[in-house]
Amino acid sequence: MASRTVAKDIITLRGSAAIVSEFFGYAANSILYNRGVYPEESFAKVKKYGLPMLLTQDEGVKSFITNLTAQLSENEIVGKEWLEAGKLQRVVMVIMSKATKEVLERWNFSIETDSDVVEKGVSREKSDREIMREIQAIMRQIASSITYLPCLDEPCVFDVLAYTDTDVPVPFTWIESDPKLIANPQMVKLHSFDTKIHKVDTLVSYKNDEWDEQ
């Protein structure tokens, strides 16, 4: 029986942070597209992760997401950026009713960082292709989530929250916020991916469209 050797690539802290923030950018776009927050026509197709991914062409939305992912992966102002310092606990994308500001959906991306890598600067090994496959699985799940998520048939807006350690100084472009929770949500856990330095878990919670169980 032929043995399979999977070529592993070296992953550095910086490289991993780049993968995670890039993932977040694409995931955010995919959510906005699939949930219909912005019109279909405002998105363009690109190839990424071996899938056709949609990216917004709306300048306002584009710059918002770019600034966000930049904050996660490169921040000259603060010094060491959040992902590299292991200070970022999670990123949450909330979708709210434009009229009432009620939170209808919450996409939660939890991040677990390998402290050894942050403290000692070691690197890890994992095949790029395997990370790609894991991310691909998550993107597919996001796309197919429309089969069970309740219809958002009112105009919606979105926002992004970052949960960080308290010892991180707040950059001037950010403000403290409330968590924007959903009361009695339904929750669905999606796949996770792991670069061996950062492990990202995805969870979507949405408003229960039935009465609360007593």
């Binding site: 918002f64 949960y163 950010w174 169980e213």
Partner: protein, 422 residues
Amino acid sequence: MDRFIPNRSAMDFDYAHYMLTDGRKIKENQTVCSPAREAYRKQLAETLNMNRTRILAFKNKPPAPVELFPSEHSTASAHPTKSAKPRRHIPQSSERTLDAPDLVDDFYLNLLDWGSSNVLAIALGNTVYLWDASDSSTSELVTVDDENGPVTSVGWAPDGRHIAIGLNNSEVQLWDSASNRQLRTLRGCHRSRVGSMAWNNHILTTGGMDGQIVNNDVRIRSHVVETYRGHQQEVCGLKWSASGQQLASGGNDNVVHIWDRSMASSNSPTQWLHRLEEHTSAVKALAWCPFQSNLLATGGGGGDRTIKFWNTHTGACLNSVDTGSQVCSLLWSKNERELLSSHGFTQNQLTLWKYPSMVKMAELTGHTSRALYMAQSPDGCTVASAAGDETLRFWNVFGVPEVAKTAPKVNREPFSQLNRIR
């Protein structure tokens, strides 16, 4: 000094923060706790270090969408929002209980089936009885000879009139319930008992203790048209998808196979499309999701106790839930996004789950031995379950039918009225 970063993915800070800072109070003395609340309360209990987290948002908000109406794309969702409707009451006890003496207590058999003409078939030992749900009348279809029996499986054809009966001696009998006539006997397809069957139009698929699965065209003389080989032990679960394109089979070898009609071969055994080996015990419980194609739910026996969900297009396992006890049977609701499972030791209960959250909505108890067999009424509202405690129970678990049927309180032992040839 190493910095300890706890596993936050297991904790729900959201709920914790919400409970700590917002208005809602947990009612400590609540004796009845909803399953949903219980789940969140468990997450709350796991929470640590809320003080070490700060939540930030960007000062400049993204622009609101220009369009006043969302794109067509999002409204293509299969789940339209409905205005809040009253939650239905799920009775915790069976609406009706009938005696089922001599019901064989064997995990691997399939002795109960509810046909489209609203007649329930149940095999008790060597005899098959038909119970007409519209007037609660019982009749005996057939009693087989001792050396051929007991009956090991029953399966109504889609027309609700013809019925297949699998026997311990490996034969399958085909009956016309309208005229009470036997039409034919299928022989030679199996070497031992036929414990599972599934219909796909005129094809009767049979699963045997020999591990073989055979597609029989009941209209023609040489009825064996296809064989599926793959299981090493008894095939106890067999279900065709709604489209009739895929067949799911579960065996005592802990394996689930997905067979696809597009891979059919008439001169050699057909190869499976997927071989799913994640279960660690026999898989008898199989159910195709009515509202999402290519979604299959499977349940494992005593050593496994999980319900797993599969994308049968890719073979991927989407979710796995530990139920705590042997899963004997699974049924999807036709009206709501709910799944019903029946269990063995220790509670012998039927559990109703919300899908996809898999939050428990109800637990129906009453059976005093494992609830091995389940069948659903054609109107999708009632479920019948039978167990080795020799009872057949009816549960209004999926909703009340629109036209209330006033069921006469008949005698509780319909089957004992009939003469039984021993």
